[in-house]
């Protein structure tokens, strides 16, 4: 077993999944308790537009994805606040617009066709040192936010209109959390892909919520479940040559079903 760690790409993949589990456990809990899973889906898919444009301009695809994701997140936040458009319809529009822009720009890019499958389903064994560092920094930031700003984030997620009356800056904290959600989702794209990102941000949380009814404990337990799930997925990917993202998603879903069937709430 020790021999597999002689491969740098295995070490990088493992580290990146450990950090990613922390990010997904913490931010995913926020996404789930705020019931913004559909918003998260919109942000993730819209980010593909940034990837396409970045390719066309010869820039970093993840940088492009990040820009699109953050703009989409803030856009949805704004629309949700002024209520002039139905929020779910707006999300669907941004979701498909992002995908369309991505495909159009990739089509227009001369020369080789980028690896679309890689963005859709991810390739955790292809992450490099810079990706590991980026996810590590965001993981650290997520822990700091979860510890220091636990209460305002929880209060605002639970009862935003009441929180407004207690003088928290609800608009600012909500927007910052939306940006954080966008950054977290995009960082996970490289490892698990646009289509499978949401699994890490929702399934461990749903499993944890069967056992715990406290937001902090739900975060911690989600991190652990995401960690076990992603290490198993990684092992499946390495030893059986399966796509890691798909293996993780399938495994976590089976665990969720078993837990729901056999554990009384």
């Amino acid at each position: 077993m020790s021999s597999i760690f002689e491969y740098q790409f295995v070490v990088d993949a493992l580290l990146s999944m450990i950090f990613l589990s922390v990010v997904a456990g913490v931010i995913g809990t926020y996404i789930v308790v705020r019931r913004m899973v559909f918003v998260a889906g919109g942000i993730t898919h819209a980010s593909f537009g940034g990837i396409g444009i970045a390719y066309y301009l010869g820039m970093s695809p993840i940088g492009g994805a990040m820009a699109f994701a953050v703009i989409t997140a803030l856009g949805i936040d704004l629309l949700g606040n002024n209520g002039k458009v139905r929020e779910d319809s707006a999300i669907a529009m941004l979701w498909s617009l992002g995908m369309a822009v991505g495909v159009l720009f990739m089509f227009l890019t001369p020369g080789y066709a980028p690896n679309l499958m890689g963005f859709m389903f991810g390739d955790v064994l292809a992450v490099g040192l810079s990706d590991v560092i980026a996810v590590g920094v965001v993981a650290l930031l997520a822990v700091v936010v979860a510890v220091v700003f636990y209460r305002p984030v929880m209060y605002i997620a639970f009862a935003p209109s009441f929180a407004r009356l207690t003088q928290w800056n609800v608009r600012l904290i909500s927007s910052l959390m939306s940006v954080f959600v966008a950054v977290a989702l995009v960082l996970a794209i490289k490892a698990v892909g646009i289509i499978l990102v949401l699994s890490l941000f929702t399934i461990p949380q749903s499993i944890a919520n069967v056992f715990v009814k406290n937001m902090g404990r739900m975060m911690i337990m989600s991190v652990l479940i995401a960690l076990v799930g992603s290490i198993c997925g990684l092992a499946a990917s390495f030893f059986f040559d399966l796509p890691a993202g798909a293996a993780i998603t399938a495994l976590l879903t089976v665990v969720f079903l078993v837990v729901k069937l056999f554990v009384r709430n």
Binding site: V33, R35, V148, F149, Y150, R151, P152, M154, Y155, A157, F158, A159, S161, F162, A163, R164, L165, T166, Q167, N209, V212, K213, N214, M215, R217, M218
Partner: protein, 225 residues
């Protein structure tokens, strides 16, 4: 008894997006007041309440507010997410207005526990909010409103959808609170004005104040004609 009001509305017009809902409303709320605000739905009760809570600004007239006035607010039974992973004690703590709000001190937690004990809910402190009955939950939200040690407590339709037992359990807490703060209680049901109310404000496009808690013919006329 103090004689300066906590809040004074003078000839206030209020509404939304340029449309006036309540016009020429004047009202003083003194520290020992217990005012029942009644009126039909759509008559402007919520609009007046939003003026008091400083959520909206008047379109005309003036609002005087005591410097540093602290208001506790019990919103209508609304779309609270019952599956949200938050405990009863944390809901109460969310009403904290001052001190270290990121990391509540031991004293703050003790105060929250004391409020729960006042509302006879201390044994539920660590339960998840959705595990309580509707009436218990409403008392938790009352504790949250009291957490900021308000000088004025605003209750918006506090007993709608509640059964008689739950209503009694909530209302029997209020006379005790009325000794320490002013209370404004909003209701669309004129049959539901509690006996501890000292005065009535009828809101139906305009505002009429009555120094009694009895429903007179005059009040009925204001509400329905």
């Amino acid at each position: 008894m103090e004689h300066s009001p906590l809040i004074s509305l003078r000839h206030v017009d209020a509404g939304y997006e340029g449309r006036v809902i309540v016009s020429d409303a004047s009202l003083d709320i003194f520290p020992d007041d217990v005012i029942a605000v009644i009126g039909p739905n759509g008559g402007g009760k919520t609009t007046i309440l939003r003026i008091l809570l400083n959520i909206i600004k008047p379109m005309a007239g003036s609002v005087y507010r005591l410097d540093g006035l602290k208001i506790g607010y019990l919103p209508q039974v609304n779309d609270v997410d019952l599956s949200f992973p938050i405990s009863v004690i944390d809901v109460v703590l969310s009403g904290q207005l001052y001190g270290n709000r990121l990391f509540p001190s031991k004293e703050t937690r003790e105060r929250a526990m004391a409020l729960l004990s006042f509302a006879q809910l201390e044994k539920y402190a660590n339960m998840q909010i959705g595990e309580l009955s509707g009436g218990q939950r409403q008392r938790v939200f009352l504790c949250r409103a009291l957490m900021g040690q308000p000088q004025l407590l605003v209750l918006d339709e506090p007993v709608t959808y509640m059964d008689k037992v739950a209503e009694t359990n909530l209302y029997r807490l209020l006379p005790e609170l009325a000794k320490q703060m002013a209370i404004v209680l909003v209701s669309h049901d004129i049959g539901a004005i509690p006996s501890f109310a000292k005065s009535i404000a009828c809101v139906n496009r305009s505002l009429h104040y009555h120094e009694s808690n009895k429903i007179s013919d005059e009040i009925l006329n204001e509400l329905y004609i």
